[in-house]
């Protein structure tokens, strides 16, 4: 039976990159996976796995998601009640938080306790956005999503805000940018990356391949 991955299309920028990268992974792993870019709640509700990409501002992405009638409910049912694997990318990960502080205070999906706050590197010479390749510090090497990915592997980041979790136990990987910040988080069937796996060459494709095979 075919395995369906829904990539949620809510008007955010480069979601096709994510879809193309997932397709590439599925092909190279010989998985019978159908990658579907969709704005339909029914397609999300019926998917075997869900990816929420995201670029732009927290509030805009939140609004874009809320603007799709029935989408948040479909997402919540699939992810929270039916336990479907979920991957949030960049702002898609940030939306998993309780609150976002970009351009005012906004509620997140509240799947992970914590806040999305401005990136303020301790070294004033460091530029914001944090843009480019940075090496990961893997803090939970046993997580299936990080199989084959080790501390020192590089991933591509572009962000001006970061997720500050209330508890450190959900952090899967960190990255040093004037202090350690969250690079990947997860609990149960939920995971998110601050970096862009779809733009992170071999390391990113590895993580996406792990996600496609993940059966939490």
């Amino acid at each position: 039976m075919s395995h369906t991955v829904a990539v949620i299309d809510y008007g955010s920028g480069n979601l096709r990159s994510a879809a193309k990268a997932l397709k590439r992974c599925a092909d190279s792993l010989h998985l019978k996976t159908e990658v579907r870019v969709t704005a339909e709640p029914d397609a999300v509700a019926g998917a075997d796995a869900i990816v929420l990409p995201g670029v732009g501002a927290f509030a805009d992405c939140r609004r874009g998601l809320a603007a799709l009638d029935g989408m948040e409910q479909a997402l919540s049912e699939a992810v929270e009640q039916r336990g479907r694997p979920f991957l949030g990318i960049c702002v898609g990960m940030q939306l998993m938080a309780s609150r976002g502080h970009e351009h005012g205070l906004h509620e997140g999906l509240a799947w992970l306790d914590g806040d999305v706050v401005a990136l303020e590197p301790s070294d004033p010479a460091l530029k914001v956005p944090h843009m480019g390749w940075n090496d990961l510090v893997v803090t939970d090497s046993s997580h299936p999503l990080l199989e084959g990915i080790a501390t020192g592997d590089h991933a591509y980041f572009v962000h001006s805000y970061r997720f500050a979790p209330e508890a450190a136990d959900k952090v899967l990987a960190e990255v040093d940018y004037g202090g350690l910040i969250v690079a990947a988080v997860g609990r149960d069937n939920l995971a998110g990356t601050q970096f862009h796996p779809e733009k992170s060459q071999a390391t990113g494709l590895r993580l996406l391949g792990n996600f496609l095979r993940w059966r939490p």
């Binding site: 096709r16 732009g56 805009d60 843009m131 480019g132 390749w133 940075n134 733009k199 990113g204």
Partner: protein
């Protein structure tokens, strides 16, 4: 630690790669998607397409080039040249670009950058600035491939664009472009010190030491070059190894 980026830039005209010396004397050197895949495999940190297609009717060709490139390359791709409207940006992003670079349109309509950043996010808006030295410590913004003076001070303009929501500045020295004499380090340093966002140094690379200088003396977050890579003078791997040997943090 964040690494300095090496960005090969491909000038694309009518869907083919060309590279100019001071924007004239164009030489044809290949298929952009093929070139992009080579740079991807070679470990380039990002790719940049500069579309220099002149005729308006042929402008959509770049969308096909971007789409086929995005099928094959899983690395960040910036596309610039002729970006005038939010619809131009949207079409490039949908085709698979990660960032767009805006040059003339920002000068013509400064609010365009703010509108674009609000609509698509700061992270995908690169403002390209072509600077020319007009006095020992003064640089002016030029447009139209360096032919048209704007009267704008390049450093003040960079600051204004950062405030408007640019996520990055692509800074080209028009005096150095195509010369092989190295980046204009004074220009680079002045802009880097003036803005909180990353700056890509461009224009003038003739050897690997120039890349080192761009980061170390210019303070650039990324270095862009075209000819030295494109005509096989140096490989990406050589460039990155050379920069790493000089003590610059690189992704090797």
């Amino acid at each position: 630690m964040l690494k300095a980026r090496v960005i090969p830039c491909l000038d694309v005209k009518d869907g083919r790669v060309v590279k100019g010396v001071n924007f004239v004397d164009l030489r044809d050197a290949g298929d952009p998607t093929e070139q992009a895949a080579l740079y991807d495999a070679a470990g380039a940190d990002e790719l940049c397409f500069l579309d220099i297609t002149a005729s308006h009717e042929r402008r959509d060709i770049i969308l096909d080039v971007v789409a086929t490139t995005a099928e094959a390359c899983f690395m960040p791709l910036t596309v610039g040249g002729g970006v005038r409207t939010t619809d131009d940006i949207r079409r490039l992003l949908v085709a698979g670009a990660d960032k767009v670079s805006i040059n003339t349109a920002a000068v013509a309509e400064p609010d365009f950058v703010r509108v674009a950043a609000e609509k698509f996010g700061t992270q995908c808006i690169v403002v390209a600035i072509d600077g020319k030295r007009v006095a020992p410590e003064r640089f002016e913004v030029f447009t139209h491939g360096g032919r048209k003076a704007t009267g704008l001070d390049a450093v003040a303009w960079a600051r204004r664009m950062a405030e408007a929501g640019a996520g990055e500045i692509l800074l080209t020295s028009m005096d150095r472009d195509g010369t092989g004499d190295g980046y204009d380090l004074a220009l680079t340093r002045a802009v880097v010190d003036a803005v909180p966002i990353p700056v890509i140094a461009s224009g003038g690379v003739g050897g690997l030491d120039h890349l080192v200088e761009g980061v170390r003396e210019g303070g650039a977050s990324a270095v862009l070059a075209a000819s030295i890579f494109h005509y096989g003078q140096h490989s990406i791997a050589e460039a990155k190894a050379h920069m790493a040997a000089a003590g610059i943090p690189m992704r090797l």
